[in-house]
């Protein structure tokens, strides 16, 4: 099972639609500081159902919508969609490809889609239960976690262990 295609539009710095096609090997995302690499990581977590806005460096839901520049107006909606190859049949679905989508509007309204059909957030979270792929899994490792796991604050470290249990 692997992520094969990510489409982002209106999410953070992606004012224009961007399409990434991944293969199942090792992919490297590169570019200068501030160009949008971590925003791509945020988009993947977001579309998989991440609900904690702090994990996306945001304070509120609408922070993830493109908020404009000197020459562009802010947008009204953020959208991301992720295609997952279900080649090992791990996902509880007959499809060999599963597409997960998410939209959020300035009004705060959210939409979730499974294979282009509107669904509830619960349906997306249920799909990934037991695959280790939930948004709060260890799938994303960043330098800040290195600090946290080494910190002397016992609760932080324990929490990471308990989430794996």
């Amino acid at each position: 099972m692997y992520l094969s295609k990510l489409e982002i539009i209106g999410f953070k710095s992606f004012a224009q639609k961007v399409n990434l096609s991944f293969d199942s090997g090792i992919s490297a995302i590169v570019g200068p500081n501030g160009c949008g690499k971590t925003n791509i990581v945020d988009a993947i977590r977001w579309v998989l159902g991440e609900q904690r806005y702090s994990a996306l460096r945001s304070e509120k839901m609408e922070d993830v919508i493109f908020n404009g520049t000197k020459s562009r107006k802010p947008l009204g909606m953020a959208e991301a969609s992720l295609v997952i190859e279900n080649n090992k049949g791990i996902l509880p679905s007959e499809y060999t490809q599963v597409t997960v989508g998410r939209r959020v509007y300035r009004s705060g309204e959210s939409e979730y889609l499974l294979n282009k059909v509107p669904c509830r957030l619960k349906d997306i979270l249920d799909l990934f239960m037991d695959t280790g792929m939930g948004a709060d899994a260890y799938s994303v490792i960043e330098l800040k976690m290195v600090e946290t796991i080494l910190s002397d604050r016992t609760e932080e470290r324990r929490r990471l262990f308990e989430e794996a249990a």
Binding site: I26, S27, A28, I29, S139, L143, V146, F161
Partner: protein, 165 residues
């Protein structure tokens, strides 16, 4: 709940010892200990790491790079208990020197048979370990776009010259 936690803890501990030895040297010692004489569901977790003959009395005496490598081994160890089909690493290689980058990429390549890796990096050596590179840039201020990444001197990444594509 206690049994489940202890079982998971033991798995993490075994994974940690194995991963640590791949990232450092097979002769290096490390361990994970639960605080004694305390309810396991409340006990603190101690990380013991002794790279290369050193005898640090606590992980705080380790260097920046050694801490990052130790924490990475532990985060991978937790990850392996319930492995997700994909793993995203965001610039965890920043504090590492060349020799440690090579160990880091070696362990990623070892896991890559069963796990899709997406690595965000500024480091040329890490880029060389990838199958595919995705360049991100902001040609227009504040707006991210994808670009083709070219390298100088054949396939060796001398300097990733990011060009419009």
């Amino acid at each position: 709940a206690q049994a489940k936690f202890l079982e998971t803890f033991e798995k993490i501990r075994q994974n940690f010892i194995e991963t640590f030895k791949s990232l450092f040297d097979s002769g290096d010692e490390c361990d994970l200990k639960l605080e004694e004489n305390v309810d396991p569901l409340e006990a603190g977790i101690d990380i013991i790491a002794k790279p290369r003959g050193k005898r640090p009395t606590s992980i705080h005496l380790l260097s920046g790079g050694e801490k990052t490598l130790t924490a990475t081994a532990l985060l991978f160890a937790i990850y392996l208990v319930k492995p997700s089909p994909f793993c995203i690493l965001d610039e965890v290689d920043a504090p590492l020197d060349d020799a440690n980058i090579d160990r880091f990429t070696r362990i990623i390549r070892k896991f890559a048979d069963n796990t899709q890796f997406i690595v965000v990096t500024h480091n040329k050596r890490t880029m060389e370990a990838a199958n595919a590179l995705y360049g991100v840039t902001m040609e227009e201020e504040g707006v991210s776009k994808l670009v083709t990444v070219r390298f100088n001197q054949g396939s060796q990444v001398q300097s990733a010259a990011v060009v419009s594509g």
